[in-house]
């Protein structure tokens, strides 16, 4: 106990610099872990916030087996977008005059009034307010508080009306807040998030270990002195434990503080629609306490483990292992074995099967281990290369690398592993992306992303269509109707039992399609046409055989007949029939006029791409009762939110991991310069210019870094290429993301460079002659 | 500097006549103070009187008269005693110590033992002087320090020589 307390005192009294640096590094680790652990709760909080303002209608209550009470509000939901951001809200008819309120709302708007989120209020005061006026008519009489929003930047509105806008009747609402059937976080996301957190844990562990082992030289001297006067190994271990504990507790406390202070900044950086409230970025209390306890304990364990590796003997501390790592060539073995396993996948060259998965995982794991093991060899080679150069700086740096190749390699390992994993991960992202295909993604291959595409349950009237075309900035607007043709004699969808009984066709004018897709198509005179397929392996919709057919309306009832022409012209729109769920296109003139209104349709509006034009189209459609009009880009953003989310999360994770690695490196570098003060001072005393010392320090990091990064990138690229070669389906569609790799590697190199540059000013102070003095 | 013992030691290696003896002495020990010829013959006379040397022969090969001297058994005994007994610590011991070492090596005696004996003698003296310092007046202490520093210098030389004995032996053989 005395020894533990003595250790605590030593830590508090002794090397304050060391305690401060270690404490800061641990604090960084704690804050980082808390932020990562806060991500899922933040997601859950968003879901809960949405559930809490969920209107509970009479129907919902009945379905839940509760006795309905008198409704107080009639509500009709609005969904729209504004300038790439989703805009939503409710039309409200306050039946019972404010007796129930949604969360965050002080009073419900009366007809002609608006209660809006702060960001929306800002937009309504801003330069583009006119674009919103059609959809949000009225005067802002209040702002929605944080309790009623899913995120601080959400665009949300309660629009006071006297009755819901047609065609929606609105629902009678009893109260707000219904968590029972809220959407949950998908298990995949939960697993992915946890895996990601685990992946990020690796650099954090490296950081904790590095920080704890800081100033090992001084600590070892101190412990040796205690051993000399008769401290037992146990007492010395307790002493070291006491020190580690102090630093750990300090780190935890500081980390919590830093987390609290920086949380708003971190929340602001989370790439989620509407943003995240800082308060929601909060790890569950169990995990919070866990991290706060785990970091001191971890720091304690690392320090005890280091002690176990050290025979603290009174003549100074000697490592139980050999003093210098020779960086033997055996270190190449695991890496070569791992790459060979991955290479075997290449040779097999077939789809991913059991054996290949084993090769992939085994090879990947071996490669990761191999990269960590091989780093000293790379350092040694860098040293050998450096001593060949004539300059003093490279000579000094090279000799140091040769003398202890592991020292520098250790500080780089974290970053190198992150880069390897990152390179591999970045190669997977395009595959994930390519595997998610939708109407919007298909259309975006042939149409500008700014085009507005709406699927309607009905068909827009010809007047509305021409009104759209007349809007400034609109290039073309086309309705593509969707119809079902049945074999003659069938009187409803239900009677069609064989696949060939029914066929899906699209109805549109060929010239209009050409115009909206911006292609010079040869329509000819044919009243029927087909689309040239682009996805060879995906079977298109079956083409309709010529002859008489029954036309079924969207309700499945016959609305007339059509004669499909014998010949169909093939045109190329750059998209497949599959996108329109039709193998055959018919000219509208073929259909009976009465049938026009009976179909669902897809509206394509090609614009000049200006945001104002998009809003004009949206407002025009809004007046027609079409609320959810979105551009292809907006739809893609929404559809790909999961994929993009993964991608963003992966990128963010990489950036964070590299930064954590950078902090480890910074801590280790500062320590290395401090520990070598005497060497540097005697070199400076010999007349070696500080500039040369700086260059030597820089080269000592940069040369092995370049080598290690090179090996990591090559291994990662090889691993990714091997994986891709095994995947016959995506091999041809997805290339290797060289640009992203370059970016990731460059970023990592930049962080390491910046960190090393930060330590350079230390060289001057470290090289001062006063450090020549022995204590 | 014990010239008689030095000459006796040189004669033990091989019988020599007076001029030869002077040359051998000057080569090894007389760099800055060569022996005068008169001193050589005077010393030889005394050694002969004491029975440590005898005339081994006379000859004249075309030069001056040459009398060759050799060591007697008594002379060897005296030499043995000289080698075995360390010198009393006194200033400027180096020449005699050096002569002892060289002669011991040349005569096949244990030169190391000579050095160790001397070293022990020095240490004992230093210990005594150090003990005397306790409680003494400053002027007395400074005097003792003077002796101590000189003894220390001798000791350093002894250690230095001890560690280079092998090389010295080789050079003497040449």
């Amino acid at each position: 106990m005395t020894s533990l307390l003595l250790g605590v005192r030593l830590a508090l009294r002794g090397s304050r610099g060391r305690v401060a640096v270690t404490g800061l590094a641990l604090a960084f680790a704690v804050a980082f872990l808390l932020a990562v652990l806060g991500a899922l709760p933040a997601r859950q909080a968003k879901i809960d916030r949405l559930a809490d303002r969920q209107p509970v209608s009479v129907g919902t209550m009945a379905a839940a087996g509760q006795r309905p009470v008198q409704p107080v509000v009639t509500i009709s939901s609005l969904y729209s977008s504004w300038r790439g951001r989703s805009l939503s809200g409710h039309e409200v008819v306050d039946v019972k005059n404010g007796s129930i309120l949604p969360p965050g709302v002080a009073r419900l708007p009366r007809p002609g009034e608006l209660v809006v989120s702060p960001d929306l209020a800002g937009a309504l005061r801003g330069p583009h307010a006119a674009e919103l006026a059609v959809r949000l008519p009225g005067k802002v009489v209040g702002e929605i508080g944080a309790a009623g929003l899913s995120g601080p930047r959400e665009l949300f509105a309660y629009v006071g009306v006297s009755r819901p806008s047609p065609p929606y009747p609105g629902q009678e609402v009893l109260r707000f807040g219904y968590r029972a059937d809220r959407a949950d976080i998908s298990p995949e996301l939960r697993v992915a998030a946890q895996l990601g957190a685990l992946g990020l844990l690796l650099p954090v562990l490296v950081l904790v270990a590095t920080a704890t082992r800081l100033s090992a030289g001084t600590r070892d001297r101190r412990l040796a002195a205690v051993r000399l006067v008769g401290g037992t190994p146990r007492q010395v271990a307790l002493l070291a434990a006491g020190e580690a504990l102090v630093v750990g507790v300090l780190g935890s406390a500081l980390g919590l503080f830093v987390f609290r202070v920086l949380r708003p900044v971190a929340a602001g950086l989370v790439p989620v629609e509407g943003g995240v409230f800082a308060a929601d970025l909060q790890p569950p209390s169990g995990q919070l306490v866990g991290v706060l306890l785990a970091v001191p304990v971890l720091s304690l364990l690392v320090s005890l483990l280091a002690m176990r590796r050290l025979v603290v003997d009174p003549l100074g501390v000697r490592r139980r292992s050999r003093r210098l790592t020779r960086a033997g060539w055996w270190r190449l073995v695991p890496l070569c074995a791992g790459l060979a396993l991955l290479g075997a996948m290449w040779v097999r060259d077939n789809d991913l099967e059991g054996g290949d998965v084993a090769l992939l995982l085994g090879g990947g794991a071996l490669t990761v281990i191999g990269l960590a093991v091989v780093a000293p060899v790379v350092s040694r080679l860098a040293g050998l290369a450096l001593v060949r150069f004539p300059g003093t700086a490279s000579r000094l740096a090279g000799r140091r690398l040769l003398a202890d190749p592991s020292a520098t390699a250790r500080t780089l390992t974290g970053t190198v592993l992150v880069v390897f994993v990152g390179i591999w991960l970045l190669a997977f992202l395009p595959i994930v992306k390519a595997s998610s295909s939708s109407q919007a993604s298909d259309l975006s291959a042939a149409l500008p992303g700014s085009s507005v595409v709406v699927n309607l349950g009905s068909v827009l009237g010809p007047d509305a269509e021409s009104a759209l075309r007349a809007l400034p900035g609109v290039r073309q607007a086309v309705s593509i109707r969707s119809a079902q043709l049945a074999r003659p004699g069938i009187r409803s969808v239900d009677e069609a039992t064989q696949p060939e009984d029914l066929a899906q066709v699209a109805v549109a004018r060929c010239a209009d399609l050409g115009a909206v897709f911006g292609r010079d198509v040869r329509c000819g005179t044919a009243a029927a046409f087909t689309l040239r397929e682009h996805r060879g392996d995906v079977s298109g919709y079956t083409k309709v055989p010529p002859g008489r057919r029954v036309v079924l309306g969207s309700d499945g009832k016959p609305v007339g007949e059509v004669v499909v022409p014998a010949s169909a012209t093939e045109i190329d729109l750059g998209v497949d029939g599959w996108t329109f769920q039709a193998g055959t296109f018919l000219d509208p003139s073929l259909l009976p006029p009465a049938a026009t209104k009976a179909f669902s349709s897809m509206l394509l509006v090609r614009t000049d791409g200006a945001p104002a034009t998009t809003e004009r189209v949206r407002n025009a459609l809004f007046s027609q009762g079409v609320y959810g009009a979105q551009t292809l880009d907006e739809q893609l953003a929404q559809e790909d939110r999961v994929v993009l989310g993964y991608e963003k999360a992966a990128r963010l994770g990489l950036v964070l991991a590299v930064l954590v690695g950078g902090v480890s490196l910074l801590v280790a570098s500062v320590d290395a310069v401090r520990a070598r003060r005497r060497d540097l001072a005697s070199l400076a005393a010999l007349g070696v210019p500080v500039g040369v010392l700086r260059r030597a320090l820089l080269l000592e990091v940069l040369a092995p870094l370049a080598g290690c990064l090179g090996v990591a990138v090559a291994s990662g690229a090889f691993a990714a290429a091997a994986y891709l070669s095994a995947d016959t389906y995506y091999r041809d569609q997805v290339g290797l993301p060289w640009a992203a790799w370059g970016g990731a590697t460059g970023f990592a190199a930049l962080v390491v460079l910046a960190v090393t540059a930060l330590t350079l000013p230390l060289a001057r102070s470290a090289a001062r002659a006063e450090h020549l003095r022995t204590e | 500097m014990s010239v008689p013992h030095t000459l006796l030691g040189l004669l033990e290696v091989e019988p020599r006549h007076g001029y030869d003896l002077k040359r051998a002495y000057d080569t090894h020990f007389g760099h800055d103070r060569p022996l005068k010829a008169g001193q050589v013959y005077a010393t030889l006379g005394r050694l002969e009187r004491d029975g440590f040397v005898v005339v081994a022969g006379t000859g004249r090969d075309g030069g001056p008269d040459r009398t060759t001297y050799a060591v007697t058994g008594e002379g060897v005994t005296d030499l043995d005693r000289w080698f075995a007994e360390p010198e009393g610590p006194a200033p400027y011991l180096q020449p005699v110590l050096f002569a002892k070492v060289v002669l011991a090596l040349q005569s096949g005696r244990d030169a190391r033992a000579v050095l160790e004996a001397q070293r022990a003698e020095h240490l004992v003296t230093m210990r005594e002087l150090t003990a005397q310092k306790k409680g003494a007046d400053l002027d007395r202490v400074l005097g003792l320090d003077f002796a101590l520093f000189h003894l220390e210098a001798d000791l350093r030389w002894l250690e230095h020589t001890a560690s280079r004995l092998d090389r010295l032996a080789k050079e003497l053989v040449r």
Partner: protein
């Protein structure tokens, strides 16, 4: 002749391929001051470390008061060092983060004495060694001579039976060295403690009752009073 307090018998110890000790034997009698002399690399420091139970010889034995020391566990040897031995080395025997007073109090605290108690005793020792005025200073802030006197105080504070001093004056000028030696030997004699002194300086060795000269890891000569 009294029973020897500490005995090393035919001690061999190699560091890698270098033999530091090759059959060294030495005896330390109660209350005597023994100097270990020898050139650099002769193994004198290594012999001291073996005698003090810091290093364990490869073969041979070390006995303290008749009991084998070399085959004891690290913990036993540590507590022996704490209770019966004291140390003064040329460098690094003081904990740089602790004040002079705390350094001197350290052995007492390790032995379980209360801090206040330990520091009171420590202060007496500092004053006795004429360095009471640097009690609150860190080792880095005091002169070399003062630092060594603090180290002497620490070596003696727990009432050891043997004080091991390895080149205690190695980094000091002659006057400071003399002062440290006089204080060390004087205090040790007063306490009846033996002193094992490693030095290459004859003037320092002259404080000893007996000298042992080492060469190539074994005893070359012994000089008694």
């Amino acid at each position: 002749m009294t029973e020897p307090l500490l005995v090393a018998h035919d001690v061999h110890l190699s560091f890698g391929t270098t033999a530091a000790l090759a059959g060294a034997s030495v005896q330390v009698r109660p209350g005597e001051v023994l100097a270990l002399l020898g050139a650099s690399g002769s193994g004198k420091s290594t012999l001291l470390h073996c005698l003090a139970g810091i290093l364990v010889p490869d073969s041979g034995e070390v006995r303290y008061r008749g009991q084998r020391v070399d085959d004891q566990s690290d913990a036993v040897r540590s507590s022996l060092r704490r209770s019966d031995f004291g140390f003064v080395f040329q460098f690094g025997s003081l904990v740089p983060e602790l004040t002079a007073l705390e350094n001197v109090a350290l052995p007492l605290q390790l032995a379980g004495r209360k801090r206040r108690d330990a520091e009171a005793v420590a202060l007496q020792w500092l004053e006795r060694l004429e360095v009471g005025d640097v009690a609150g200073k860190l080792p880095g802030e005091v002169s070399g001579g003062q630092g060594q006197r603090v180290a002497v105080a620490r070596a003696l504070v727990a009432g050891p039976r043997v004080v091991f001093a390895d080149e205690p004056t190695g980094a000091l000028d002659s006057l400071n060295g003399e002062l440290v030696m006089e204080l060390l030997i004087g205090a040790a004699r007063e306490q009846g403690a033996s002193v094992v002194l490693v030095t290459h300086e004859p003037r320092v060795a002259a404080y000893a009752d007996r000298e042992v000269v080492l060469r190539d890891g074994a005893l070359a000569a012994e000089v008694c009073a």
